[in-house]
């Protein structure tokens, strides 16, 4: 036990003394959360939109107050002048224009049907999509609200000229995605590199020629990265709750338990890579190409799996991060419990056990 502790201490020295490792370890999750988080949400907050109200009636005013009171938009009233609208658009001061037709209220009351025109600045496609989406949902909300008080239901159709962007379905899906990505990177790459480094510098030779059990070398190397990865999970969750206002809907202990399971999966993978490679460079390359890329491609985080060709959908099943991504998303956003996630958890557990067995089996207690 004392030997194990000495080993773990040494491992922490390595990490704490290498500024590059530190930067990757703690800078990356923060940077990723901020990049993904703010790139996707911040610009939508307090976006200035221009309202051209040809109707100026009750309904349009009510709807406008509703849009204005949301935290996403700031409303500017405009002169009813097309040229002016265009020039404000060109200057990039506003993100969208909402146009109420002349007889908005009347159309609603008499025809049970009205239209609102939404024109978005689509130079930034993501933001434009997001804004139109938010606007649409506010309008729908208004519609539902009004419908409750009315006997005769009516419909407002926001007329949006943009393709529906499936990524926007879960704008917050990136937090689980970043978690999978960061844990993959830290646990797989860092573990693999740190074990291979001992081979490269020759210290593995000395460690093998010592009473310290070779298998313990591996566990002692993996342990600090388990701890550091958990610190990363905490950091990501704190950032997500306090900076991005995305609370964890489900059970936090369950989330940590699942994260620990996934970290162990990654550590097993890292150990396996380290056993099969001889240089840090190759270990890094395999970790990046073989692990990080599939996580980005097949976890469903950046590209929806259901839109992929069937063979790729099948391949995606062997990527552990896919299952972890589903689990985290379900717990954080949908608030689901283990009763709904036992299948995914079991798959991940199976993968972990398999990887650990393979790694331990192929671990060499000698140089060759």
């Amino acid at each position: 036990m004392k030997q194990f502790l000495a080993f773990v201490t040494k491992e922490f020295y390595h990490v704490l003394r290498d500024q590059r490792t530190l930067l990757i370890l703690f800078g990356m999750p923060v940077a990723q959360i901020l990049i993904f988080g703010f790139a996707l949400t911040n610009e939508v907050k307090d976006s200035e939109i221009l309202v051209v109200d040809y109707a100026k009636d009750n309904a349009s005013q009510e709807l406008l107050t509703k849009i204005g009171s949301s935290r996403y938009f700031k409303i500017r009233q405009a002169a009813l002048n097309h040229k002016e609208i265009l020039s404000t658009f060109r200057q990039g001061k506003i993100k969208a224009v909402v146009v109420f037709p002349v007889n908005f209220n009347e159309d609603l009351l008499h025809h049970n049907k009205a239209q609102i025109q939404v024109i978005a600045d689509a130079t930034d496609v993501n933001t434009a999509n997001m804004i139109t989406n938010y606007l649409s949902s506010i309008i729908m909300d208004y519609q539902n609200q009004v419908n409750k008080t009315l006997k005769m239901p009516y419909r407002i159709t926001p007329e949006v000229r943009m393709l529906y962007n499936p990524q926007l379905k879960g704008a917050h899906g990136f937090v689980p995605g970043v978690m999978a990505l960061v844990l993959m990177l830290v646990s797989v790459m860092m573990t693999a590199i740190s074990i291979v480094r001992e081979k490269e510098t020759g210290t593995m030779e000395i460690l093998l020629v010592s009473p310290f059990k070779p298998v313990l070398v591996i566990f002692a190397k993996a342990f600090p990265y388990l701890a550091l990865s958990l610190v990363n999970v905490v950091a990501i969750l704190l950032l997500s709750v306090f900076v991005l206002d995305l609370p964890v809907k489900g059970s936090v202990p369950l989330l940590f338990a699942e994260s620990t399971l996934f970290i162990i999966t990654c550590l097993a993978l890292g150990i396996f890579i380290s056993i099969k490679t001889e240089t840090q460079q190759i270990a890094m390359l395999i970790s990046l190409m073989g692990m990080l890329l599939p996580t980005m491609m097949f976890s469903g985080f950046l590209f929806p799996i259901e839109n992929m060709p069937v063979p790729l959908q099948i391949i995606s099943n062997i990527v552990p991060s896919k299952w972890f991504y589903i689990i985290v998303k379900s717990i954080m956003i949908k608030g689901l419990g283990i009763s709904m996630l036992w299948k995914e958890t079991l798959i991940l557990l199976g993968m972990t056990v398999f990887l650990l067995m393979v790694s331990l089996k192929s671990f060499k207690i000698r140089l060759q």
Binding site: T9, T201, S210, P211
Partner: protein, 303 residues
């Protein structure tokens, strides 16, 4: 008592079955300072790695302190000390942290065995909070030796500890080894430097995976069968060319400031060679009867 026994040890590598160690046998007595002398690629490292249980032999057997290198590898791992050829400590840990780490890994403490490393450690102690990566070559070597000694090994394996080290540090290192021998630790050391052979109790000359000769350095030198003459002239390069053409000469080669000329035992007198060289137009000729060195013996064995 024999600390290390090696019997017909063989090791081959790769698909082409390149033979690195070819049917090697020797034994080392308890408390002996034993040298494996040979150039790079002679098989020294492979032998050390097999004896330290890092590699499995392809043939033959060996034991260290009575433990079989294949079956009892755990027992060997806890009793021997090993210093690989490349500096293999943690560059980002300080002297003290490295030593402490290795002491703990071997299940001991620095205090417990301080007497063993004291002589060496006091030389680097003033820098104990300096990181190993920032030490000079000589200091790294001393630290590595301390780390290999800290668990009071019965047998110490030092693989080319002096390669790439300047002559002054080399001398210091050998003095440390002599003092260690007094602690009754068996030491196996390998080196490509022939001049270090005389510092060992016994040596094995090795080349191409085969042992050429095993004996006390003095015995090897005394057993040199031929007449060896040391020759000097004003024009050394021409001298070598002229010597090469002498009909009775067995071998000739540069040797420091002299050239060594080898003739069959008793077949040449210094005076005779001197006049031969004069006759070939060389000036400043000096010919002496020379005592063979390990290097001469090695060349003889290779020839």
């Amino acid at each position: 008592m024999e600390a290390v026994v090696v019997k017909n040890l063989t090791k081959t590598y790769g698909k082409e079955q390149t033979v690195a160690v070819d049917d090697v046998s020797f034994s080392v007595n308890q408390g002996e300072l034993f040298g494996l002398i040979g150039p790079d690629g002679a098989g020294k490292t492979s032998i050390f790695r097999m004896l330290t249980t890092l590699l499995l032999p392809d043939g033959g057997s060996a034991s260290v302190d009575g433990h079989d290198i294949v079956k009892d590898f755990r027992a060997i791992r806890s009793s021997v000390g090993y210093m690989p050829g490349k500096f293999s400590l943690y560059q980002d840990l300080t002297i003290e942290e490295n030593l402490h780490f290795f002491a703990t890994v071997f299940g001991t403490t620095i205090e417990e065995n301080y007497h063993l490393i004291k002589d060496i450690y006091v030389q680097i102690e003033p820098f104990k909070s300096r990181r190993a990566g920032k030490l000079s070559g000589g200091m790294k070597q001393k630290l590595a030796l301390c780390c290999a000694l800290i668990h009071q090994p019965t047998t110490l394996f030092l693989d080319e500890p002096t390669t790439g080290v300047d002559p002054v540090s080399r001398k210091e290192f050998w003095e440390m080894l002599k003092r260690l021998k007094e602690q009754n630790i068996t030491i196996l050391v390998s080196t490509p430097y022939m001049d270090e052979a005389s510092l060992c109790d016994r040596i094995a000359l090795i080349q191409g995976g085969k042992i050429l000769s095993i004996d006390k350095p003095d015995n090897i030198v005394n057993g040199y069968p031929d007449t060896l003459l040391a020759v000097k002239a004003d024009q050394m390069y021409r001298l070598l060319k002229v010597l090469e053409k002498h009909p009775d000469m067995l071998n000739s080669y540069a040797f420091g400031e002299y050239a060594h000329a080898v003739f069959a035992n008793g077949q040449m007198q210094p005076e005779a060679l001197e006049s031969y060289l004069h006759a070939h137009g060389l000036s400043g000729v000096e010919v002496l009867a020379a005592r063979a060195t390990i290097e001469d013996s090695f060349i003889k064995l290779l020839h």
